[in-house]
Amino acid sequence: MTAGLQAIFLSERPMLLRLLTARLRDPDLVEDVLQELWMKLDVAASGPIADPAAYLYRMANNLAFDKRRSEMRRSAREGVWLSLQAEDGDSPDAERVLLAREQLQELQAAIAALPERTAHIFRRYRLEGIPRRDIAFEEGISVSAVEKHLKRAYQAVQKIKSDLGVDIQSM
């Protein structure tokens, strides 16, 4: 199975490279992530995978997310240090500090400002990991109606991010 996944990796490599380039925009980082992905194939899922290429794309996209996330944290941490001369980055509370308080509060406010049902559905989906189908069932609405609520919630949180994005970049 693993050998099969490696063969798929090789045939999909150009497309994986394009995905990672679009996500990371740094050729060195892209090569690192491709290498990391290749190493992970040895310990990847042992059971049969329905669509191995999709599985590889998902892995690559997740790795790109991890890289971007730690990059953002680093720049946020530097920003926090500058403004607060704050706590030791290795303390257990570091994660809290990393997400600038202001932004956390803005996000909380944005979520609280959503219609009650939208906020509830977003929490069930994003925090509690309940599948959309199950949420639809609980709420007595269709899956596409659940998706509409999620879309509205994402619009609200993304607005905050895109507004703040400029600030973070300037730090």
Binding site: D51, A53, Y57, E116, R126, L127, F137, G140, K151, Y154
Partner: protein, 320 residues
């Protein structure tokens, strides 16, 4: 880093869709990212916002939510007429849940129905839960919360037991009385089947008084009243409410009926194959098309479109 709301919405649609995406969709996603640096910014902002929002959610307790009474909160109330007129039909297609008041002097009956592919959870005044599968209608009574009738489709009952006031379910003029129970009732063309997952149910308590225990299913033919007892796996009962359909030696025609009810996709299995027994599990927590495709694959049948629906036929029939 400015991008339009349209791009933002596209990024959201991709983000919500990628969890289930196949390789072709991933390639389309890559092309979308490459098409415009603004797409890359929007998607990057979104996944970062998504992670931050999860932290924001985790750092505040869930607000207490006043759970509305589903029946009263649902604004779509239809008065039942002799038939569905054209306008009513269009209205019914827009609403997935219809509630029909059927008042009589002694009782205050009302019907709750779902469209194919939908499920609905009702919590009655006594705490009893009734889960409706798709294409299902039950009749309830405002004046008697210990009564339900299954008029069509399939429903799973989780009954709160009261020794001196048993819960009764009517199906096709016959009575099921709970003895503290979770059970599933299915109303198919020409028969109904009751299957007990927990506790026990008395079938026709004032006549035959057959006691059904977990893992037992009773099938009754409509016209002849012929009764058949089956053994089934208790854990598989009502699995449709968890997004699974589980079978052991069930004719493919019946499985296709369940798929239609659970997903809304019309599927037919052609004749020699329709009687073939099926053992296995179908996941239904995904799109109707995907469920139908994996069903066809599992039974090694050939799938083709048939108007708005699907037909599954033996593979050899297609080869010359």
């Amino acid at each position: 880093m400015a991008y339009s709301e349209r791009i933002m919405d596209e990024a959201i649609a991709w983000h919500l869709g990628l969890g289930e995406a196949g390789s072709e969709e991933w390639r389309t996603f890559v092309a979308w990212l490459e098409a415009d640096p603004a797409h890359q910014d929007a998607y990057d902002d979104l996944v970062m916002a998504d992670a931050d929002a999860a932290e924001a959610l985790a750092s505040v307790p869930a607000p207490i939510r006043r759970k509305p009474n589903i029946i009263q909160a649902t604004p779509r109330v239809w008065i039942k007429r002799s038939g569905w007129g054209g306008g009513m039909l269009a209205a019914a297609a827009a609403a997935w849940l219809a509630i029909l008041p059927l008042a009589t002097p002694s009782s205050e009956l009302y019907a709750v129905s779902t469209q194919p592919g939908m499920q609905h959870l009702l919590t009655l005044a006594d705490g009893t839960k009734v889960r409706l599968n798709g294409d299902t209608q039950v009749t309830l009574d405002h004046k008697n919360p210990r009564y339900a009738s299954v008029d069509r489709g399939e429903a799973m009952f989780e009954v709160v037991h009261h020794a001196d006031h048993p819960f009764e379910v009517k199906v096709n003029g016959m009575t099921l009385r709970d003895v503290g129970t979770t059970f599933n009732v299915r109303r198919d063309a020409g028969m109904f089947v009751v299957a007990v997952a927990e506790g026990s149910v008395l079938f026709q308590p004032d006549r035959e008084a057959v006691s059904l225990t977990p893992g037992m299913a009773l099938a009754i033919q409509d016209g002849t009243g012929k009764v058949e007892l089956r053994r089934i796996q208790a854990t598989a009962i009502g699995s449709w409410s968890q997004g699974r359909l589980e079978y052991r030696n069930i004719p493919l025609a019946d499985v296709a009926g369940d798929v239609a009810r659970s997903t809304g996709a019309k599927v037919r299995v052609t004749d020699p194959m329709a009687h073939q027994p099926f053992t296995g599990t179908l996941r239904t927590d995904r799109s109707a098309d995907e469920v139908v495709r994996s069903f066809a694959q599992l039974v090694d049948g050939q799938l083709r479109r048939d108007g708005p629906g699907w037909v599954i036929s033996p593979k050899s029939a297609g080869a010359s």
